[in-house]
Symmetry: C2
Subunit: 181 residues, 2 copies
């Protein structure tokens, strides 16, 4: 039984990993069949783990939020650079995860508890990092974390390729320094 | 004939002024009849000047672009503050002018020459101001005007009220200072 459970967990992880990599291919129209193919599992195994595409997307989403929240690590070093690194991760999360992020953005103002709960969790995980960076004098104190995340998300949504957007994001992160004078 | 022409110009200006004020009322659903009422002209006069709502919107739009371009004044003072003031005006133009700005945003990537031409004119008017501010050392040199305008527009589109958005815009404008060190 234990071996079977290990296998089951391994399958689930393989499917999630395959789905994650499939969704990060630009322009990929990812079907359940394609996910099964990439994961090297049969369609029965896929559907035993995830009833439908929406359930798979939700699991991917929750998994990404878990990782993003875990990355908001107060013990990782000086809080100013740690906050900036975390905000870059937040931005990459939006920029790279086409389909899943699009679902998040669509649902952010909606009432699906999975999605509204995800934003709440991100804010709860990031706030101590912002407060520590503000207390250390590394970050301006006139913005809340919601405002900082809205700034980063807005820049991340600017159309154009990464080379065009990167200097804008760098400037936006520079904007978090305490104002001179 | 001259007096008639003066009257005609005056009517056109009155209609544009009334339409501008009507569109800046939050949530107003502005009809042609409402514009005529506010301008104090008959419906025949209105339609003699503007064949339909789209023609009126286009005229409003061109007029706003004219004013925005004229405000990019190199002789108005030190170029750094002048650029920031102009960018605030650019932001207010987006934020306040609901319907007309929505048309601009919808059409910006489109092929209507009026709208694509408007963006081109804004860039052409603002670029000397950015270059002068960069030469004066007041503004970072790693962003083009297109990138600066995209940053300001992205912040301006953040949902929420003006009190929520204002500190984000202030931070984004601070971001244009040359990076320290």
């Amino acid at each position: 039984v234990t071996a079977r459970r290990v296998d089951a967990t391994r399958n689930r992880e393989r499917i999630l990993q395959a789905a994650r990599s499939a969704f990060s291919d630009p322009g990929a129209d990812v079907s359940m069949a394609e996910v099964a193919r990439r994961a090297g599992v049969g369609s029965a195994t896929l559907y035993r783990n995830f009833r439908d595409r929406r359930e798979l997307l939700t699991a991917l989403y929750v998994d990404e939020i878990d990782q993003l929240c875990a990355a908001a690590d107060l013990d990782a070093g000086p809080p100013g650079p740690a906050l900036l690194a975390w905000l870059r991760r937040f931005s990459a999360y939006f920029a790279g995860k086409g389909v899943v992020a699009a679902e998040l953005l669509q649902h952010r103002a909606g009432d699906d508890p999975v999605f509204t709960g995800g934003y709440t969790r991100i804010v709860a995980a990031g706030r101590p990092l912002l407060l520590a960076a503000q207390e250390a004098g590394a970050v301006r104190t006139d913005l809340t974390l919601e405002q900082v995340l809205d700034l980063v998300a807005a820049v991340t949504r600017i159309p154009g390729d990464a080379a065009y957007r990167e200097p804008i994001l760098a400037a936006a992160l520079d904007a978090l320094r305490p104002p001179a004078g």
